[in-house]
Amino acid sequence: MAEKKSATKEKRITIKTTRFDPDKDEKPRLQSYDIPFEDESMVVLDALNHIKNYVDGSLSYRWSCRMGICGSCGMMVNGTPKLTCNAFLRDYWPKPIVVEPLTNFPIIRDLVIDMDDFMHKLKSVKPWIIRKQELPLGAGEHRQMPAQIEEFRQFSQCINCMLCYAACPVYGLDDTFLGPAAIALARRYNLDSRDQGLKQRLPVIAQPEGVWECSFVGECSVVCPKGVDPAKAIQQTKLDTTLRFTLPYGNRD
């Protein structure tokens, strides 16, 4: 009888989340929620959705696709930047899980951060294909060989989730730093054989607040959920810009 009782006993987990209402609170605080851990496939985002749907509807956070593509649900999970749709409760249970907004960004409310700084920086590197002269559509597509795609493929996997900014102590100490994702995306387009915008991006990425601010902590590449290596992009850009500056004819397109 006792065995039957324990077998049917509901498995539960404690989620501690940041709560912050700028109209009422002076500073963020943690609030605990004890929720059912219904099945092994539950992720931290499911837990937050459970809290919002059944316990406390005022909890605010961003999310969208729930499949690691949109990059909206990045938060600090037990102090590490993670996509909450990709952080399984089973990896933390039975210990409590602390969910906080991404560090190094201002908090708007609860788990929602202000991403304006990132958006401005992203736009400043012009992460799109730039042509010196646009060809008419009738001229056909810009063809690429598989090897040319491989040059930039990994950098194109970035989903702008900002986990790398939360992991970067350089950005945390000096938010004028352009940051890992913006530089990785700049490199993605600079390596693209269809692109001709290198000289438009160079003034942004080669300035002191660009690649030269990075001291190669490398944590950006560790936390990236898509396997992008922003640290590699930054160091390679350092080498490229140095060679362009020092080699004869190095500044050619």
Binding site: A147, V217, E219, D229, K238
Partner: protein
């Protein structure tokens, strides 16, 4: 950013250690420059320090230099983008080549110094 951010993760801690190692190495190299200048005045002007404290400091600097050089050379595989016959050279090959060149350079410098000493 709290002042203890670098104690939050092992990776951060190792990064700060890597950066810190440059400081004692710089001090040791300044001393070396001073010694070279002194040696320029002939044997009379050259009096290398023989204290235990300096030997300990030198051993620590050697450990730091090895750690710093090792991390630097490992990163070469990340930074360098080398192609041979239009094919990218794997990072591991670049790193192993770097360590090989490092060992070779150390041997050559060691041989030259021993040669001079004889």
């Amino acid at each position: 950013m709290p002042s203890g951010w670098w104690l939050r993760k092992r990776h951060y801690f190792l990064y700060v250690v890597r950066e810190f190692t440059a400081l004692p190495m710089a001090l040791w190299l300044l001393w070396l420059l001073y010694e070279i200048k002194s040696a320029g005045a002939g044997p009379a002007g050259y009096q290398p320090p023989r204290s235990i404290a300096f030997v300990v400091f030198s051993v620590i600097c050697f450990a730091f230099a090895t750690y710093h050089s090792g991390t630097f050379l490992k990163l070469a595989g990340v930074i360098m983008h080398v192609k041979v016959f239009d094919r990218p050279v794997p990072s591991k090959v670049i790193v192993l080549t770097m360590f090989g060149l490092w060992a070779l350079a150390s041997l050559v410098i060691g041989a030259v110094l021993i040669g001079f000493a004889k």
